[in-house]
C-alpha cells in the first residue's frame, strides 16, 4: 500500500515530539515565572493589582485555550502584525499556564494556617520575611503535587496549537496520516507517545502527594 514502515512513522512522530516537549517546557517555565509574579500581586497589599490578577485568571480560566490561541494568532494579524505560529502558540500557552499556576499556588499559600502568620508576626518578622522563611517553604511543599499534575495539562494543551499550523506531535500525526493513509496506526502511536510523557508525571504527582501527606500528618 505505502512505502512507509512503522519505523518511518515512529521516527517522524518522535521528531515532532521534540516540539511538543519544547513548547511544553517553554510554556511551563515562562508560565511558572509569570505565574509567580502574578501570585505575589494576587496576595499582595495593592488592591488594584490584586483585582487585575483576579480578572486575568478568570478570563483565562473562563475561555477555551483554543480561543486564546486564535486571538493571539489572528487577533494580532488584524493590527498588521504577522505572528508566526510558534510565537502565538508559545505566548498563548504561557499566559494560559500562568493563569492556572497562579490560582493553584494561591490556594497553597492560603492553605497555610493563619497561626503561622500570627506567630511569625508576633516574632517581629515583616511581610517579606514571613513569606520567605515561614509561608513559602510550607506552601511549596503543598504546591509540588498539583504543580506537577498541571504539567500534564500543559503537555496535552500543546495539541491545540496544531490548529494554527504549529508542527508538534498532533500536527505531525495529521501530516503523516495524509501521507500514509493509516490513521489508526498513526494516531495510535501519537496517543502512546502522549501517554508515555504524561503518565509518569501523573504517577509522580500522586506519589509525591502521598509522601508529603505522610511527612505532614501532624501539621
Amino acid at each position: 500500500m505505502s512505502d512507509f514502515t512503522i519505523w518511518d512513522i515512529v521516527r517522524n512522530l518522535l521528531l515532532a515530539t521534540r516540539w511538543t516537549v519544547v513548547l511544553s517546557l517553554a510554556a511551563f517555565v515562562g508560565g511558572g515565572v509569570l505565574g509567580a509574579i502574578l501570585l505575589f500581586l494576587r496576595i499582595g497589599k495593592r488592591r488594584l493589582l490584586r483585582n487585575f490578577v483576579k480578572y486575568y485568571v478568570e478570563l483565562f480560566q473562563g475561555t477555551p485555550l483554543l480561543m486564546q490561541l486564535f486571538l493571539a494568532f489572528f487577533g494580532l494579524g488584524l493590527f498588521g502584525i504577522d505572528v508566526p505560529a510558534w510565537v502565538a502558540a508559545g505566548a498563548a500557552l504561557t499566559l494560559w499556564t500562568a493563569a492556572f499556576l497562579t490560582e493553584i499556588w494561591r490556594g497553597c499559600v492560603e492553605s497555610i494556617a493563619r497561626g503561622q502568620w500570627e506567630a511569625s508576626s508576633s516574632l517581629a518578622m515583616g511581610y517579606v520575611q514571613q513569606m520567605r522563611h515561614v509561608i513559602l517553604p510550607q506552601a511549596l511543599r503543598v504546591a509540588i503535587p498539583p504543580t506537577v499534575g498541571f504539567l500534564v495539562q500543559v503537555i496535552k494543551g500543546t495539541a491545540v496549537t496544531s490548529i494554527i499550523g504549529f508542527v508538534e506531535l498532533s500536527k505531525a500525526g495529521t501530516e503523516v496520516t495524509n501521507a500514509t493513509f493509516e490513521p489508526f496506526t498513526v494516531y495510535g502511536i501519537v496517543a502512546l507517545i502522549y501517554f508515555a510523557m504524561c503518565w509518569p508525571l501523573s504517577k509522580a504527582s500522586q506519589s509525591l502527594e502521598r509522601r508529603l501527606n505522610v511527612a505532614h500528618r501532624n501539621q
Binding site: G115, E118, A119, S121, S122, L123, G126, Y127, Q129, N218
Partner: protein
Amino acid sequence: MSLIEINEVRKSFGTNEVLKGITIAIEPGEVVAVIGKSGSGKSTLLRCINGLESIDAGSITVAGAQLRPDEAHLRQLRLKVGMIFQQFNLFPHLTAGANVMLSQTVVKKTPKGEAERIARAMLDRVGLAEKFDAYPDQLSGGQQQRTAIARALAMQPIALLCDEITSALDPELVSEVLAVVRGLAADGMTLVMVTHEMKFARDVCNRVVFMHQGRVHEIGPPDKIFAEPATPELQQFLGVQS
C-alpha cells in the same frame, strides 16, 4: 511609670463591640491573669496589646512607646512583647532549634553561631536541651508549647502574652508547661496570661483581671478576687469554674 498601659481601649468587629473601654496598667515584673467567660474579649485584648488586632479608640503604651498601627512601629513593639498561642504555632518545616533561631537571625540579624548558642540556652531553660534537632511533629504537645516559649524568649522580650497556652494540652502535660511559666515569673518576667487554670492564677499571679462583656468587671489581687468576689457575675463565674 507602668510597663504596659492600656487606656480606654475599644475594639469592634463590625457592629459587635468586643472591648468597651479597657483600662489596665501593668507594672514591670507583674504577673497578671485574665479570666472570664468565653467571648468576653480576653483574646482580643491580648491580641490588641501586640498589634495583631488594631484598636478603634484609646491607647496602648509599652515601655513608654505608644502603639501605632504602621508596620515599623508594630515590629518595634513586637520586639519587646512576645506572644504564646493556644495552638503553639511552631513552624512545622523547621526543627525546634531552627524555630528558636529563625527570628533572631532574620529580624535581629544575630550571627548564626550566636543565635544557635542562645537557642540552645533557651531550649535548656524550658527543659528541652536534647530536642534541638527534633521537628515539631516529633514532639508532644507540652514539648511543642515549651519550644514556643523558648522561641519567644530568644527575642529577649520585656513582657510575654500567653493566651490559654495550656488549653490545647492533654491534662497530664499541663503541669510541665505551667512549671516553665512559674519559672519565668520567678525570674521577674512580666506576664499577661489568659487562663482557665484558677489554681495557677491564685498561686502565681500578682493580680487577676475578670473580664465580662468587654469590660474589666473586677480587678485585684488573687486573694481578694477568689476569696471575696464582689459582683454576682464573678461569683457565678467562679462557681461555674470550681
